[in-house]
Each structure stands twice: as C-alpha cells, then as structure tokens.
Amino acid sequence: MIEQDELLAEFIDEALQHFQTIEPDLLELEREGDQIDQEIVNRLFRGMHSIKGAAGFFGLKNINDLGHAMENLLSLVREKRISVDSDLVDSLLGGTDILRSMVEDVGSSDTIDISGIMELLQNKLNTTSISIKKVKLFEILGNGKKGRDFDLPEDTVKRFVKGGNKIYSVEVYLNKDIADQDKTPFDFINNMTSTGEFLNISFSFDKINGLEDCLDNELSLVFLFSTIMEKELVPMALELPEEQVKEINLDNFIQRIKKNLELKPVKKDQKEENPLVAEPEKIESDTQQDSGGKMEGTTNAARQIESEEKIRVGVNIMNDLMNLAGELVLGRNQLMQTALPLIKDVQGLNPVLQHVSSITTEMQGKIMQMRMQPVSALFSKFHRVVRELAKKLGKEINLVTFGEDVELDKTIIEALSDPMTHLIRNCCDHAIEKPDEREKAGKQRQGTIELKAFHQAGQVHLDVIDDGAGIDGLKIAQKALEKKLITQSQLEEMSEQEMARLILKPGFSTSEKVSDVSGRGVGMDVVQTNISHLSGSLSIETKVGYGTKLSLMLPLTLAIVSGLVIRVADQYFIVPEANILELVRIKPEEVKQRINTIHDAQVLRLREKLLPLIDMKTVLNLSPENSDKKETTDGVKPVRVLVARYGKSTIGIKVDSLENFEEIVVKPLPRYMKSLKSYSGASIMGNGKVSLILDIAGLVAKAQLTISEEKEEKHLLNQKDSTENEEQQTLLLFDNKTEERLALPLELITRIEKVSAASIERVKDKTYMQYQGEELRLVFLEDYLPIQKPERTQDETLGVIIPKQVKHRLGLVVGKVYGTLNEPVHLDTKNISSPGLFGSAVLDGKITLLPDLFKLTEMAAPDWYGEDEKKKSGERKLILLVDDTPFFRMIESEYLTSVGYDVIVAENGQQALELLDNHKVDAVVLDIIMPVMDGWQTIEAMRGDDRFKNLPVIAVTSLGDEQSRERGLASGFTEWESKLNKELLLEKLEKMLV
C-alpha cells in the first residue's frame, strides 16, 4: 500500500505548485476586474478546488475549510455573481497566504486559528446571499437501472450541462489501478483534471460485506467527474476498465430545467435554441462560458495528448548526479590526454575514446538540462511584491514581464531571488515617482517596471527597466564625495554613467530616510557582489527624468562550463568561454602603434574602439622571470590579447599564450583563497593540473581599472590619421599545409579545434569527426577550391574551423592558424576567382585568398541547399544594397545574386536615395554606420517620403545588440540582421518580399 507520508509529501508539492499560479492569477484578476479572461478564473478555481479536495482526502480540516470558502468565492467570480475589486482580491490573497503557510506546515495546520480569515471570506459570501441548492442524481447501471445516488450543488450541475458536459462516477482501486500501475493518486487526479473537472471523492466500502469477504476485496475511491468526453472515451482517458466508469443520469435534471423555462416568459432576445440558459440577463456571459467550457475541455484533452510523462526527483539526487557528471567530465578529459599518444599504437582505441567522450558530453548536457528552470519561477513572485509596495508607498506601479520561458540553472534562479527582490524594491521606492509628481512631469500616473529575460551570446540577460525619475549622476557623485567614497579629482574625471554606477559602492545610499522598503545603505553593493558570485555582471543605464535600465548578465549554469586555458608567466588559468569575445595577436611591429598609455594605464586600439588593457603579470604579481622569453630580434615581442566581456564594457587581457578550450568542472575555492576576488573557482584540467578560473570583474577591480571608454576613445580616435578612416575587417589567417595563405572573416567563425588526422573517420565518400557528441562533416578546401593539394598523413594534427551562421554545421579542415589580422581589405575579384572564392587581397604583405564560406558549404553539400536554386526561376527582384565597405558590398552582393536577385549598390544613404529616385527597387539592404549619410538618417528620410513608406528595408549591420535592434525596428526598419549571415539575410528578404 502507498505510504501516507509519501502521499502527504506529494500533496504539499502539488499544492505549492498551485500557489505559484494562484497568486499571479489573483493579481491579474485585480488588474482586469470583471473583464478577466475566463480561463484565468477557471485556473484559479481549479487550483483551489484541487487543494481543497486533496486536503479533504487527508482529513486536513483547516486547509479544507479555508480552501472551500475561497473556492466558493471564486465560484461566484466565475459565475459573475460578485464584482471583483481590490478588497475582494485582498481577502483572497490573505486567504492564500494563510493557506500556503498551513500547507507548508501541514502537521500543525489544524492548530492554526483561521477564524479571522474565515469570517472575512464569509462576509464576502454573505453579501451575495448565496444559497447552495442540492440536487440528487443517480448512476446509470449497465441494465439501465439506478445505481448509487449523489447530492450535488444544482448550480454546478447546471453549469456542466450548459457546457455540454456529462458527469460520471469513476471507481478507482488504490492498489490495482494506482499503486500497481506505478502511479500516485495525484498522477491520477492530475490526469483527471486535465481532461475534465472532478467534483467529489469518497471511499467505497461496497465490496466488503463483512468479515468473511473482507480480505478478498479491495477498497475503492469513487470520484465524481465531469467532462465533455463520451462514455466510451473516459475509461481510455483515465486508463481504467469500462465497468468502473458509470454515467450519471442527467435526463430528469435537464427535463426539469426545461419545464421551469417553459413556465417563465421568454424574452425576445433570448436564444430559443438554448433551452438551458436559465438567466436571461446572463446570456452573454453564459454563452462565453459555454464556449469556454467546451474549449477548455478540448484544449485540455489536447494538452493531455501532448504532455510528456514526468516523475519527481529529489534535489539531492540531482545535485549528486551533477557532481558525478562533473567528475566524469574530469575523468574523460584526463583519459583523453593520457590516451591520445597511444591512439596510433592501440588499434580500436580511438573509436572507444570518441564514444566515451561523446556519451560523457551528452550525459552531462542532459543532466544540466534537468536542472534548468524557467525564470517565471523567479518573476512570478514580483507581481505581489510590487503590488504590496505600491500600496504601501502610495504609488501606482504596473509590473510587466517578458521572456518568462527563458531557462536558468536552478541554483542561479534560487540565488537570484534576493538580489532581484532588492532591485525591484529599489525601483518601487526610489525610481518610480508618486502619481502627482509623474503627472506634473507629463508622465502617466502609473509607473511601469519591465522585467525582461532573454538569451544573448550564450548568456542570460535579465533587465529591470523602469520609467521613473532616473538616477541623477551628479547628485550621486556629490553624495559619494561627502561620504568620501571618491575624491574630487576622481569626480571631475567621471562620465554621467560612471557617476550613476557609484550606487554600487559599499555603504552608498541617497535615501533621505531609512525606510523598511529600502535605503539602508547596504543593498546595491550586496546585489552586485551576489551577482558576481554567480559569475554574472550588473550594468546601469540611466537618463534623468526618463528612467533606468539595470541589466544583469548571467551564465546559463555554474557547474560545468567551457573555458579557454591561457598561460601567463608559466602558470595556467581558465577564462570561461562566455566572457571571451575574441583573441587578438599583435605583431611586434604594430605593438607601439596599437598599444598606448593613457594616464598610466595601457589601452589597446582595436578597430574603432579603445580597450583598457590588463597585464596579468603586474596585476596578479606573477613572477616576471618566468614570463615568455620569446622576443623578436629588435626586442619587441608579439602581444596576445584576450578580449573579454565585462558587463557592457570590453577589456583586453595580455597573456603569454592561448592553449585550448576545455569543458571544465567548476570547483569552489578553498576557504583560505576565498578572499582572492580575481578568481571565481578552480578546476582540474585534462593534464591533471589544477588551474584557477579568472573572475573578470574581480580582475578589473584588482587592476583598479576605470572603464571610461567614451573619453579615452575620443582622446585617441581624434589622433587617427585619415588613412584609418577606412573600415577595417578582422580576419583569421591560416594555410592549408601549403604556401598559400587564406583568410576568413572572424565573425563567421565559432571556434577552431585541433584534431589528430587519425581521429578522422570516413563513411562512404564523406569525412567526419566527433564534435560535441555529434558527427561533424569535414570539408577539405583542396577538394573545392583551385588551390595546391597538401600532403596528408595519419600522424599529423589538423585545424578545423567551425563556422557560425550556417544552416548546416560542418568543419573546414585547415593547416596552420596564424591568428587574426585587423586591416582594411581591398578585395581583388578579377585576378584570382573561382566558385567558392570571393577573390584575393594583399594582407600583411602577402597575397591571401578569401574563400566564400557559404558557397563552399553549398558546393560541399548541395543536397542541403537545393531550395535556394528554386528562387532563380521566379520573377527577378531588384535589391538596393547600401554599404560603405567594398568588402561587405562585394560579399553581400554575391549572396544576393547567387539566388537570383538583381542588385544595384550604393556607398552611403545619399547615393541610395538618388538611386531610389531612378529605379523601381523591391527591397533595400541597408548598413547603419556609413559616412555622409548613415543608416539612421537614411531610414528616416525614406519613411518620411510617401513613395518609400512601405518599402521593405533590412538593416545589415555589425550592431548586433538587442537595444540597437529595438531602436532599428522602432525607426522603421522592416528587419534587422547581423552582417555576413547569408542564410538569415536571404530568409528574411524572401519573407519581406512575399
């Protein structure tokens, strides 16, 4: 028999899950009032009904009684017999709080005094003079005779009948139908409530007549259940034998209602074909309810079919599994390193290793997936927090949430609860103004707080955006000066945004008085510290009078991450991949030009930006004598810089060498190292050595780095000579094990892997390698491009470039990778050209071939790209391509013509507008950052001209951030896409042209 304690634990779990939706639904009820979506009221009612029903099942009197009273009130709301106001929702929320506290401590629930809340709810019920009239209904037995009888509330039965529902008695045996089928009673109830509504449960002792037969027959539960399903379907849906489902006879009841109606005068507007509409004044709502009821049944049935089978697993087991998966990954890494040299000598070792590796990766992925939870678990509680605070502070605040389906590791979700609550409380207390103040400032009386979650660059972003007063940087800075958190000279150097960031300093508070809402002087710094502990970052954007945006960037998980192993002064460190933007090698002769010193701090000039540069040897006091000795003849070494993301800023970290990417298992630092803020943890690498994981935020703090990009950029960029005004491209230089040099735009590359030629497998005429648990198709450049054929041996090590932005992933096999190069590209398409090749350019003093990655993949796997060919046969469309960079113009033009579009090109917005005057263009592909007239000005001019108001325009830009995209779409762009993403560009263009 199922243990009662287990059942009770199930009940608590289930009830707490119901509370997760009950509270936000009640708040929605308050917002929408009588206009509330009927499905939300139904969900509220069902949730409360389940809690009440199950509590009755366990003899939990208080929970049952309170649940029953709340269910009655919700029933009145559902039947629109009570008007929804703040007072009613207050009572329901109050009841929910008490109910939850009783569920959380079920053992003591019957000792809690609930008389106060019961009286409150009863008063609400009394105001509607509710009288529950019961009706006696009978089972229909197989021979047509009457079976057991049940007393049911007449209103409820009427509601079911109107909705086209039938009522069944369902007999369920605890062992035969539940325990023996590996189910719990809750599985059964859940199944039942997903296909209908259950009304009542009772035990049936009918099968036991006395002592003689008492041990031969099993006890059963009798559920009364209402659904739109026909009788034949119910046993199938509930997985029960047919004889255990009996229909309840409703004929007499329906007849009686019809008779009653005949006695009443029928109003003209009453629908005669619906004789069951008893209350003429409620025709509209009843009709809605009818269809709602039917829909509910149908969608629920559909939901049932789609739903996955689930089981509950304890968090401890999950944590154990995660730790074991971590150990397995470590073991796998070590095994790979140890066994790699033996592959040649031991036959069959390689496939075994690859198999173990892929299974490990897959298993680790699945376990991590198990720990993921949607952020709705975090967001849902803030509706109540905002409501209560708004009331307390006399403000009107609306909380809007987006991206609730975005998932994060359970540990991160839990750890975010406090910092996020603090941010929301601060928003309510400090940011959103009182309604009168807002009105005076020309704003709506009601302030808005937006909570947004979205994925970007392998991280989860959580934005808290308010339309309040904004942060007055100067006021903040003055306060910080008074509190001696900064000096006068520091203040003078600060930008407005930097001043605003001072609120993150420990001990800072501008609140005039210490309130119990916020303003205790601790808080924002604690929030920042907590976010840092989660390997995340916090950034602030604010505008006085308009509002503030607090952006949290977090890793998806903390347990196992991909990291780059770097070497500095003969010591190894790991940088999490999520922090890495790119890797740059600066040639010795460029070092002086590209690394400058400003105010005793080094900065790196990278394309059009200046990055603060951290020298790890200096900052971490690493022994200089151990450092890299490799120097060129003139004494200047090449410099390798890891460009890392720090909040919304970018920094450079000087390193001696970049080793390899590894899946690393993050281990916490030992207690005696906890104070070292430059590290977030440690890990054991594949070679068995322990490495410290760098914490970029801690490293920046340790370097006492002030991120003031705006000023420094202006300072240095003003010194740029005119030749630098040409747009530079970042290219990855490599060869194919011959003298020929090749290059690909870095933006097109996900990563570069090193593989042993022996580990490459051939299947039919194609070649594959194992990559992240899957087979990755490999492409040898010499098979498709007019280049020299290299000599290939089994013991060589090859580079494999994994492209990004392609529909079907494959790897390009290359020889040596030289690093990146950053300079303007003057592409020559005439002298060296062929399919799969854009042309050549002189880069770094050498002729370099530039493969067309997309064409190459199409050539290598034509079966994947058959669809694109079809477009050529259709009507030809004219596309205006606007880009100031010849390199991008050429590439994008090639993309467009390759699928049959006609293309005309312009170098800036002004030229584009002239071309638009003289050509009938079907769509425009527009760059944003351009000289003479940029993309913003161009779209404004186009949308202001009636001729081009509706012309499809897609922005193709390197501004890939969400903010720019939003701004772009608001400015009138039809679509927004990043540069060089051929497949998405063509897909969106095709969509726009339909």
Binding site: M1, Q4, G59, F205, I208, N209, L211, C214, E218, L219
Partner: protein, 106 residues
Amino acid sequence: MRIYRRDKTLYIVPMCDLIASQVEELRDAILDKFKKENSISHVILNAEGIDVVDSLGVNLIIGTYRQSDSQSMSFEVINASMRFTKISAFFKFEDFFKVSPEKKTK
C-alpha cells in the same frame, strides 16, 4: 490479542499493528467470536497499541464494521493513536462509526 465480552459489548484488543501478516489470524479470531457469542449489541475495537494499518488492516476494520452492522450491532473504535486517527481521517471512518482518541495519562 484479546477478544472478550463484557455484558452486551464485545471488546476486540489486537495489541498489534493491523498489517498483512496479522490480519488473517485476527479476522479468524473475531469471526469465531461473532459466531459463538449471542445477544451482543455493541462492538468496540480498542486501538491501543495499533500504530501501523496497511490496506488489509483497513479492510479488516471495515469488515468488522460491516459484520457488526449486518447483525444490528453498533461499532466504534477507542484509544486511537495519532497515526490511527490520521488513517481514520484519510478513509473517512467517522462517516460510518465513531473513532475516539487515546486518553492522555498524566
């Protein structure tokens, strides 16, 4: 286990858990007593010492109640422990017969 009669009342005192390994023997003993004794009007199950009741134990209680009811005898449970009371609430015994908790001793 003790089953004894005092006036018109039959007392059943199992003094053990009502679990599968015990119930058959208990059922036979109770049934035997029901058959032998005449003029009983009241049956009392003294639940003292009953901590665990499994599904067959519940069947035995219900069987005893049904047997009593069919012979026009009233039935009640006395000295129910906290766990027994919970089981009683779970199966809604009190819809059919009285269940009294155990008396607290000082």
